[in-house]
Amino acid sequence: MALTCRNIEHLRDAYLDGDLPASLMAEVDAHLLQCPECQRQLELLRVCGNVIARDFSEPPASPGLASRVLDSLPRRPAAAPGSTVLLTRRQRRRIVLERVAASAVPAIAAMIAVAVLAWPGDSPPRATQPDPIRVVAGDLQSAPVDVLGVRALVDPTLSTISNTGRVAENLQEVYRLTLHDARQQFTGPPATAARPSNFSGALMMELLHPLLSIMPPSDENAPTSEPAGDIVRF
């Protein structure tokens, strides 16, 4: 059955947008060939679409729009959390260097501290060690409390365990401080913290901070409360 003008009205959008199946498209075309009015209506809409799509008669964006946008964006350090802050190439390079240094220096300091603490200290003189067991023809000549040489075996082992525990504790402290420092570097307000203004001074502070904090006499200035999430468990 041939399509009517009313049918064409309903199929108008699909026809214009090429969404009709091929068979229906042919039916619409067949109607258009015989109906100048429908042909004209569709042609009018097609011309409208062409003009809207291709007639770029609007004024362009005003000159300097991009610069004005960038100028009105928030700058460090007043930016709200989570917002994008734009920086020049030089500023970005400096921040990357600072962050790398802030992360690496405490780590190096931690390695040095571990090396110092784990270095074998002065071992007790050999003379104080009980004599190894000596059995001569069934007669015990050594002290009766160490008949089987247990102390000779257990004491060094306990000493090693104790040293290892101490090293582990110190290492944990170093990691905790390192993580805290690194975290502050990335998320904390850098302008409000009392930090040396020059870069080399900051480096020295970062280098000394973990070492000072783990000195045996407890440092009163060392931070005492830390977020639980920052502590590394061994």
Binding site: R12, D13, L16, R40, Q41, L44, L45, V47, C48, G49, V51, I52, A53, D55, F56, S57, E58, P59, P60, A61, S62, L65, A66, S67, R68, V69, L70, S72, L73, P74, G82, S83, T84, V85, L86, L87, T88, R89, R92
Partner: protein
């Protein structure tokens, strides 16, 4: 002819655009600048068609870019950057229209095409064609101006930006079926408004077959 995007760096390849967005997210001002330049004329054309006021268009455009760039961290790469940009701009346009409707005197429609208006002259020159073709284009744009804001936005995004109904729905924050309905009604209104006005002009425009 002034083609949006051509005063800047043209439309960006999607890979290049993605790279610029990622760099801008890391805080690279140069990348953000390139993103803005690449989209500024297209966005401005859309906003100007919506508001028909140059001062308001500049303000809305600038605000749209500021919001887009400062919230770039939350940009979803599943969408096109332009879609996101148009979404922000459309909302700002609606706000601006509401504000303007409250103001006693707002539009500069009358200035468009008025004698001595430099901008109207430059627009007129951009459409360098026969008088009949120019009349036809003016009539079409005047008819577009008469459409409701959602219909006008739909028509502009569909034809100019070649967005699908799904994508237009994302910009206008409405279901694709509603977008189709807006498009259908917009076409119906354009046809009604133009049928009488252009009937004589149509006959004056030389057809390609006649020219040869």
């Amino acid at each position: 002819m002034n083609q949006p995007g051509q005063t800047g760096e043209g439309r960006l390849e999607s890979a290049e655009e993605r790279r610029l967005i990622k760099a801008a997210q890391r805080g690279c001002a140069a990348s953000a600048h390139r993103l803005i330049v690449a989209h500024q004329d297209r966005l401005h054309a859309f906003v100007w068609r919506m508001l028909r006021n140059e001062h308001d268009s500049d303000e809305v455009c600038q605000e749209a870019f500021v919001r887009a760039i400062s919230n770039l961290g939350s940009f979803d790469f599943a969408y096109r950057f332009s879609t996101w940009l148009f979404t922000i701009a459309y909302r700002l346009c609606l706000n601006q229209m509401r504000r303007r409707a409250d103001a006693p005197a707002f539009a500069d429609f009358a200035q468009i095409g008025a004698p001595g208006d430099d901008r109207a002259d430059s627009v007129g020159e951009a459409v360098a064609n026969s008088d009949a073709a120019r009349r036809m284009k003016d009539a079409i744009w005047e008819a577009v101006d008469e459409l409701s804001p959602p219909q006008r936005a739909t028509v502009l995004l569909f034809y100019r930006e070649q967005l699908s109904c799904q994508q237009i729905g994302e910009v206008l924050e409405m279901p694709p079926a509603t977008v189709k309905s807006h498009l259908h009604r917009a076409r119906g209104r354009l046809r009604e408004m133009l049928a009488g006005r252009l009937s004589d002009d149509w006959k004056d425009i030389p057809m390609p077959a006649d020219a040869g």
